[in-house]
Symmetry: C2
Subunit: 457 residues, 2 copies
Amino acid sequence: MSLESVLTRIDQEMPRALERLMELLRIPSISTDPAFQGECQTAADWLVADLQSIGAKAEKRLTPGHPMVVAHFEGNGPHLLFYGHYDVQPVDPLELWDRDPFDPAIEDTPAGKVIRARGASDDKGQLMTFIEACRAWKAENGALPCRITVFLEGEEESGSPSLVPFMQENAEELTSDIALICDTGLFESAVPAITTMLRGLLAEDFTITGPSRDLHSGMYGGIAMNPIRILTRALADLHDETGAVTLPGFYDDVPELPDAVRAQWQGLNFDHAKYLGDVGLATPAGEQNRTPLEQIWSRPTCDVNGIWGGYTGDGFKTVLPSQASAKVSFRLVGQQDPDRIRAAFRTHLESYLPDGFSVAYRTEKGSPASQMSIDHPAFEKARQALSDEWPRAAAYVGCGGSIPIAGYFKEILGVDSMLIGFGRDDDQIHSPNEKYDLESFHKGTRSWARILDALTR
Amino acid sequence: MSLESVLTRIDQEMPRALERLMELLRIPSISTDPAFQGECQTAADWLVADLQSIGAKAEKRLTPGHPMVVAHFEGNGPHLLFYGHYDVQPVDPLELWDRDPFDPAIEDTPAGKVIRARGASDDKGQLMTFIEACRAWKAENGALPCRITVFLEGEEESGSPSLVPFMQENAEELTSDIALICDTGLFESAVPAITTMLRGLLAEDFTITGPSRDLHSGMYGGIAMNPIRILTRALADLHDETGAVTLPGFYDDVPELPDAVRAQWQGLNFDHAKYLGDVGLATPAGEQNRTPLEQIWSRPTCDVNGIWGGYTGDGFKTVLPSQASAKVSFRLVGQQDPDRIRAAFRTHLESYLPDGFSVAYRTEKGSPASQMSIDHPAFEKARQALSDEWPRAAAYVGCGGSIPIAGYFKEILGVDSMLIGFGRDDDQIHSPNEKYDLESFHKGTRSWARILDALTR
């Protein structure tokens, strides 16, 4: 077998690989809208047939929601589990699309050719990079280099309600040596990335009640305490003047970034002025002694995501409201325990309540951060393989958001994950005119061939 | 002439006076609802006819909105201007009424007989106390003791859009020696009151804009400043730990209460524990070194009347919003200048905005406080007259709310106002099951007879 011949075949097959991707993109598999339930089945069927066509034992597996696709390629050596999702976001507002979101096309842009369609980047184009790599490998060598299980979900854009039960019921079948998740991005156009840190999330949604009814501020303004005043004070005091979160013990389980990682991140030359300037901001907020990348990837944060109370309509009403509410979330890192942070937040909030005030919480589940152990030799092998394909060396990066699937693989299957993807910041996922660069599709497919080679050599 | 004979006639006429009030209460003169435009005309016509029946030169005067009623009684001595309003609040939620709001009835209650109907207290029952006093006086003495102008409005419950233009156009006709406004309450059941201090009002409605669009807190949480954080900090810092407003110069034009007034207010034995307990609160807020009455009547305050930003629907959205908004109002006293306070507030708010943030204001007009000069001899005469009628001596009191009419009389006509009324805290004005105590109606009518006597003796 030879990697070079696989890569050459990928290059030659690109026109047909794009045709297959177009077929999949034409299926409007919107998972949140019940009107598209049939299309989610169609997408799953299409993938089962495609995986069978390259020799996998593939099945559509029914759930109470949209079906899973599970395909096994027999083989020796390590057992790899690949994850992607075939469902897509809704397309509204449709009038902001320049073309039918389910009539994909290749377009020329100043930055190169792109595939324009809903799902092109998130996640159909990405998952097909892996399937195309397997197809080329099989064609060249008659078999894949190891045992591979492809596991595709149809509910990622609608909260994955069937995912955990399905994984629990099929844990033995899915358990593998390492998981490959293709739903993230490049660090930048020339720099591929393996995401090794995902922040956790804790959300609190609550209402403070003071007076038993709304009061007239002429009658009570002054002597009756206003719940909005309590709320603004309690929320304002969540951060100190340096931008740090003030909850006692908040930083206890936050590890310092290893020097090697910090040095590597600094080498990425992240353009934080552009990152902020693109959204109209001039100065970075947050902890003042941390670099922007460090803040987004490896530091915990707290944000008020919503606040409301009193009269919010047109004109004015001099009401002193009975209630004031907010939604507050924390992004967690390291070993921060969502339950401990929740308790610290509630202690903080309740310490501001005067006699007679109360607070009611609408509890949301919290999730801890995920930290991949890059000691597993697969990480360095994959990083080298990616570096061989792209203009610049691959980076281990963090991700400010929370991708639960890596946590589930660890928790339910005991399997570490490598998050490798080829999306770009301007892919407009979840927005009108989603696209995936042809280069991402092509080099992404080649990257997986290199990774399969590296992991099984 | 003899005051005693007028008071006796008032007592004897009470059944017929109540019948007349019932007639007026049966007219659903709701000023905010265009469906009741005809009924507002009917109420004005009824009042014109009733005032003509006791010898006034009365007219319905058309405006772009609901008509004014202006009636002149010729006479010697001082010229008194009496103000009331014949329009009433809407009645919804109708299902919370125990009877048809426009089918008035006398009801027995544990606290005595009451007249139950929309407008019984606000303000038809109150304005009829003055007209009934005039009727009895005229019947006993053949003429009123002085020149009196009765000025009744039909838009008080809908923002009085025609009031200022009408007063400006008819200033000469309405200018008098003193104005009597009957739209306030007793201090408590046994203690009548003359309201001599009305707080002013300044309202600010604004939106802070930070990032140019809503951001994902996973992508930007930490390094992008959240407008809600700026807003909560700026609002929380409006008060210090003692409850005082922190704007520089805020208290510069706030006079200290004269010792005599403070002593008199302390003598009222205001039950602030009950006042707060009735609305579910345990501890008074506000400036800690001020009595509750002093706070409500003679101290300026600041309250957030509304706040909103980010995601406020069900569930959670980890949005870092582009905007955050609030409505803030100040109750003003003494010589506090609304424009100066507005400027101080805006300087405060804008000092919290980071580079690239902006704020947009939806301006509301401010009004200064009204302080009646009780040096005018009419005040002490009226207070003595009220004290003669009621179980306990009348008090000069403040009012935490803002009643613009007194300010207009001063500003447009140069006339001082005495605010005297007989409503009670439990009258449920603006709410279902509004009532007016029969004692308020009876003793209120007798009070006006005594006041007319006192002012003209």
